[in-house]
Amino acid sequence: MPQEAAPALHVRGVSKSFPTPEGGEVHALDNVSLSVADGSFMVLLGPSGCGKTTLLRCIAGLESPDAGEILLRGERIDGIPVWKRRVNTVFQSYALFPHMTVAQNIAFGLQMDKLPKEEVTHKVQAALSLVRLSDLGARRPNQLSGGQQQRVALARALAKQPEVLLLDEPLSALDLKLRRGMQLELKRLQQETHITFILVTHDQDEAMSMGDEVAVFDSGRIVQVGPPREVYLRPRTRFVADFIGEANILDISVAAGTASAAGIGPIPMDMWSGDAPPLTDAQHFAAVRPEDVTVSPDASGRFTVLDATFIGGDLHAVVDLGTHTLTSRQPAADAAGMCSGDRCEVSFRPGSLRVVEA
């Protein structure tokens, strides 16, 4: 299991601020710590501007952190210049050198290591065949498609056999179909090369399908780290619940030992997930996935259906709770014929509600 191996990379208390044009400061990274297991695939996930790319650039050496330390295999690297770090980056823009051929692009990094000529040639060939572009070594980057350029950028970074490969939103410029293919390709490359991958993305599907572990960023902090399934099933904060998959967030108040959701009423104890944190008398938020919500037509029900859409065999319903809405996703057969304006009742799958931090 990758979790038990020694960490390839360790980030400890890293902070980084940037001045804003208005004269203020943005805390791009706020005391971020992260440990990445050797040979694992770590995904840094978060909305744009959350600091994930800044962390990647700090690891690469393209930014220097204001505070904290970065260790590569136990040795500090935050003080050494970018060109001496055994870490390579696949850039979002690919950043292929336009005046060099594909083979020269890949050879560039190897020449920097002062490798003998034959070894460079050999490694360039190996890298090209790794990304299945063996025939295109003599082409210029502008003669390649977006997907091919992406592979060249990968080959160029992988040829250096870095301790850690950093990928900055590598698939965001590709169209959907290519992106799916490249996700599998990246996973394959990572497993074949046993190199530690750290990938930045704002696409939760990408994070879920590729990562051994996902670190979720929210405004300069890492709010949760864990295997994708774990993060999905046990979101720690309201932000994580909402960002990863869909979630209904309910306002919970506790009075005399009974928890009530705003707009719904008392929630029976067996609705709560067993491993959720205990409820206290304070104000809480609870998350529940749409697939754990059932909306049933009921002429004397307390709620109104705002919208009912049949997508494939599923019914997606939106129910008015007064101050906010509740979304459900359930087999269409349960509620055939339901349409907006109908009265209804809602219920939750037992054990599906989780208390989350604000």
């Binding site: 690469a60 393209l62 060109w83 950043a95 005046h99 051929t101 020269q104 560039f108 990094g109």
Partner: protein, 311 residues
Amino acid sequence: MAQSTRVRGAKPGQGSWWAGLPGIAYLVLLVLAPLVVILIYSFLSRAKLGVGVKWEFTLQPYVDLFYSESLSGARSFDPTYVQIFLNSVIYSLITAVVCLIMAIPIALWIATRSPRWRMLLVFLVTIPFWTSLLIRTYAFVIILNDNGPINEALQGLGIVSAPISMLYTPFATIVGLVYSFLPFMILPIYASAERFDFRLAEAAYDLGATKLTVLRRIVLPAVRPGIIAGFILVFIPALGSFLAPELLGGGKTSMIANVIAAQFGASRNWPFGAALSVMVLVIVMLALVVFVAVARRTARRGSGQSMESLL
């Protein structure tokens, strides 16, 4: 009336040929015509009083470029004019190279500023164009003078005991030429550098390149079109420049333009002046062919390393 009518006239963005007429007329009248006149005059005989030409075909002006006749009529090779041409080419090359070495760091520095600063700095580069070159060259007479500020400062600081003669030397000529033409090198290199994607430099650092390697193998090849344009824009006008060698070189280090001016003036030999001018034209064309050939060759070789061989 319901029929659709075809819209006549040019498509948007398509130019009309007649809009170019004033420009074409200008080129023919003011550029081509004088060249034709010069070319014809260079094959005619010298007029009696030296002003104008005598309409009689001769190759004498071209013979005079290389040979002189002694009083007895014996013809022998005379390197005077070849030497002047050679001097002019060497001065112009030195000027272009010095401008290049100075312009690259300036252009790259400007290109890496924020857009607001860039505008201001480019504007500052063009400030010398605000006054006439004649006045600015005279200013250098004052600056480089034996009693000028440079010599005063050097003596005041005790670095030299007697003034260094700088004025009326080849050094002064080249200082004047570099000063006159530096903006023509900075601007095209800046134009190339401004379009350079500095993320490529980051990628090169990431792949293990040091600053010098990034400059040599990534940045310079990218600004190569600007360097070639700048080199041509400096070398060619420098070759034909008149003011700097006249005022700063003091005639001692004459360049070809000064000799040509003398033929049309004091020496009163218009055909010979025309022949010298034709030679300048030939040298410029040869130089252009060489530049283009070198540029093509380095472009084909592609990867990095091209800069050393370009210059």
